[in-house]
Amino acid sequence: MKEIMLYRGCTIPVRLPAYEAATIAVLGKLGVKVVEMDDANCCGAQYVESVSRMAFAAMSGRILALAEKESKDILALCGACSGSLKINKHFLDTDEKARKEVNELLSEEGLKYTGKTRVRHLLQVLNEDIGFEAIEKAIKKSYKGLKLAAHYGCHVTRPYEIVQVDDPENPTIIDRLIEIAGAEAVDYLGKTRCCGGPLLAMDESLATHIGQDKIRNAIAAGAQGMVTACVFCDIQLTQVQFGEDTDSSKMIPVIPIVQFLGPALGIKEDVLGIELNKTNPDIILSALQGAK
């Protein structure tokens, strides 16, 4: 069985552990064993990136080196983590001076970055490593009469030259997976726009405005739920639906792609942690029919 090393990042363990559990269960079902990375550090994200290019490179570089030591590719579930790791891999692969400097720091604990490790976002593992055909074969139950909107996450798909996941202006992986599981993928205004998450720290009201706009557009297009591929986006699109000036009758479930695929693959809901979701997933789960 193919193994891949999960870099879980800062947010998942605290805010959305079910995403981690569902990923392990779903990939396992599809023939990919997830092993967890220990002794990791934060990738640096946009915070460290904003103040020091080299500090950012060193932090991501160490994570890459940890996986390299185990001769494994890295699996990232978060757009920020996968983006940071990929951007820094690209930087270190192309800038010899920076690579040397980072390796000096890493050598103190016996680590070395050479660039052998690949960084894989969850969508790449599903699309490229496993493949739509294999997933289709593994589907046990299908969703019927369900319309869902896909949200890809900016850092998952851009910049394309570096992340190489999906078409940055017209991404299709999540949409294909929605359809493979029997539901209908709906297109909506501003599909590739940001969820607003990265702006939360600087201006919460603007961030919320952006996220709510996105949900509104999806509902307007007839979507009954939103499928995500990034922990940050998932949390942001969930929390913008709560709060004073929101209409709870207009709430739609937000669900990570693996929690959506899991039940169709015959994985039990409690393994996927769906009951922990803040938005009510019933409309999705009730659309699941018997054997396809």
Binding site: A21, D39, S50, S52, L105, C154, I210
Partner: protein, 166 residues
């Protein structure tokens, strides 16, 4: 528009161009597709990526470095995807942030988060409670996250020693 009359200078643009990532500012032709693509600009009529870049190009150094605006970029890179000239406003604003931070102009929230990350090795150490540990156990996940803070402290010492007092 500020009331003061400014004398344009290319010095600031050159300075930004000398910071890794910032060199793409040399390619900007002020077409405005960045502003047109920007979702922040869509919800905030004060935020205009093209305007911010033009302010850099005419050398409004103090205003730009003291402004919150470069920190509002979500780095969603929609503008970069659409720019016909190969400019990445996200990279330009990163270069501005690096310079601003060096000179002590860094939003508190960024400052605090960076402090946290570098001290604890990760971002949410304070938020990780027994409740989270139980939840992880229930899901069959390892509750011991085993984050490494030795390396991040080393990074802080090497690259961001001056930042602390900022």
């Amino acid at each position: 528009m500020s009331n003061e009359t400014h004398t344009p200078s290319s010095d600031f643009a050159k300075e930004i161009a000398s910071i890794p990532g910032g060199e793409v500012i040399n390619k900007c032709i002020q077409c405005g597709i960045c502003t047109a693509s920007c979702v922040v600009a869509y919800v905030d009529d004060q935020y205009r990526p093209r305007r911010l870049i033009q302010k850099i190009l005419i050398g409004k150094r103090d205003e730009v470095l003291n402004s919150d605006q470069p920190w509002l970029c979500m780095t969603c890179r929609m503008c970069e995807e659409r720019c016909q000239e190969g400019v990445s406003p996200a990279e330009i604003f990163h270069a501005v942030r690096v310079l601003a931070a060096k000179e002590g102009h860094i939003p508190k929230v960024f400052q605090n988060t960076i402090e946290k990350v570098l001290c604890d090795g990760w971002m949410l150490a304070d938020a990780y409670t027994d409740f989270n540990e139980d939840e992880r156990e229930d899901l069959g996940l390892n509750p011991a996250l085993a984050w490494n803070d030795t390396f991040t402290k080393k990074v802080k010492k090497k690259y961001l020693a001056g930042e602390e007092s900022a």
